[in-house]
């Protein structure tokens, strides 16, 4: 039977605390990027038409940038996280 293989793991070790703190830092950084985007769209939407990179406007560059930033930050976070120490 496999039923017992699914159990909650309630232990919190040093690596979990490290990963959680790292996660909060990454989260706050991304939140600022996202909030800045929403603020410009809402209150200065005309800025979004300004040309930026390669003939693309700010709306395209910032929007694609947010998606790329999430991917890159996720990979960096995974590399920086600690694995739990084996007992």
């Amino acid at each position: 039977m496999h039923a017992d293989t699914v159990k909650p793991d309630t232990g919190v070790d040093e690596s979990s605390i490290h990963n959680a703190r790292l996660g909060i830092v990454f989260f706050l950084f991304y939140f600022l990027l996202y909030a800045g985007f929403v603020a410009i769209v809402t209150f200065k939407y005309e800025w979004m038409a300004r040309p930026m990179l390669g003939g693309l406007n700010l709306a395209i560059v910032y929007g694609m940038g947010l998606i790329l930033a999430a991917i890159v930050m996720a990979i960096i976070y995974m590399l920086l996280c600690k694995r739990p120490v084996a007992p």
Partner: protein, 576 residues
Amino acid sequence: MPQQTSVLAIVIFLMFVGFTLGLSFWLGRKAKTAGGYFAAHGQVGWFVNGIAFAGDYLSAASFLGICGMIAFYGYDGFLYSIGFLAGWVVALFVIAEPIKRLGKYTFADALDAKFNSKGIKLAAAISTLVVSIFYLIPQMVGAGSLLKALLHLPAHNWHGLDLNHALGVIVVGGVVITIVVTAGMVSTTWVQFIKGSLLVVFCSGLVVAILANGINVNGERASDGAASVTVAPGQLAATRVTPEPPTSARQVTALEGGKIVTGPLGPSEFIAELSDATILQWKKDPAAGMWVGTEVRGSDQLVPGGYFTGIRSPELVKKLDFISLMLALFCGTASLPHILIRYYTVKDAAAARKSTVVGIISIGFFYMLTLYIGLGAMVSGAMDPADSNMAAPLLARTFGDVPFALITAIAFTTVLGTVSGLILAAAGAVAHDLIESVMGHKLNDHAKVGAAKWASVVVGAIAVVLGILAKDFNVGFLVGWAFNVAASANLPAIVMLLFWRGTTKQGMIASILVGTFGSVTWLLLTKEAFANFYGIKTHDGYMPFSQPGLVTIPLSFAVLVVVSLLTRKSNYRIAV
């Protein structure tokens, strides 16, 4: 636009559905225990789980709704892509590891890990059911649109009900219920894995085809028309008026430098050419019963404000609707029950984290593709003016019957994958949280799985009925509502449980219930609900804007804090 039923398309479609069901039956033999049914024994590999995250998350809203919204309204549809992906940042950086450590089968387990409270289980089960049903509605609407386009049956209406759409909804409901009843999380995971892989691969191919095809002029200038043409002085736009539906909701009427075709384009060149093009936008004027076509610059389609017109208003309250939606999308992903239960299918917190990263990479890549698919549909000259949800499949049809059949079949499996996950989450809430934990009926593995299967049938049937009734909504818009409810109901409880020691069980229960019912009540009193649910098109609703998250998410946090502060002493005395 002349469209005929394609036998090839139907055959390919049936092969996809047959393969999915066959896989489900085969894998179903392995899931007899509750651990297998609800959590695939916790033995799914992190890479498979990561792609299954994409299969679970990239629903009809992402594929049909967003692409359709970009095709009809330009850049504003892409704002959903940005918001939907940003929500995964919260899931990875804040939620993934602790929710895996604390839970077992459902996210109610995690919320209740510290308190062992029937009240928390009950509140979490209610919120799971409400969010799942809200999220199921757009999936069903998308399925109905897909089958309608695939079969091209003659229009049949019965008391105002579109029977072709209803048929599509009933078919997808039946297939999904069969999948979930057959095998639970094991088959659901593999269906989602296959669907997630296919969606990303085939959409990449579709974008390559769009760029290779470039942009072609496919409509007449409005000013080239006959007597029905009027030109507004001082504007770029000329206006064409016709009683007949146009061949496409959007047409390219001119390119930069008088070109007729651009030839193959790179990703940035495509955007630049579109920016310089002239687009004829068709809208129906219901009062006059006429279709009105207006020319606009392509560059106007690449900035926000086409759909979220409130952001261009000087009134703050009209801007709040957009802010509220973006907040709900940011907070909603990490609050969706069908996403959270996927953390229990992997063996440990590290696997949960890695699978989330794989999910973010595949989902993020897909969302970048949505911009090109939506804009490609806009310039394809093949958009159904009456159904924004069909922009992507109809774009595929311009490349031939086989691409259309493949994209339609993949879109249908997209709906299957997401609906399976949602129904499974709801079934878990009923069998594990409500019947066993709240009502206290101790069930053996066999009985618990049986209860979950019955719950799947009932939830699936409710979703079918609501999906038929909500036919007129854009599916992306409806999913935005589901995110509002999820974020309001669940996120405050999850976050405060993890980061505030003062959280009490009474505070969590109050927060979940206020968030759930506050957001649902708000939604049911909006202008959009009056128009598309109740059929009262002229009613303005009772709410100042349609997305409640900006009010109900902070409200849910505040209720948790206040109730926790008020009940902390009594909890302390009991503990002592």
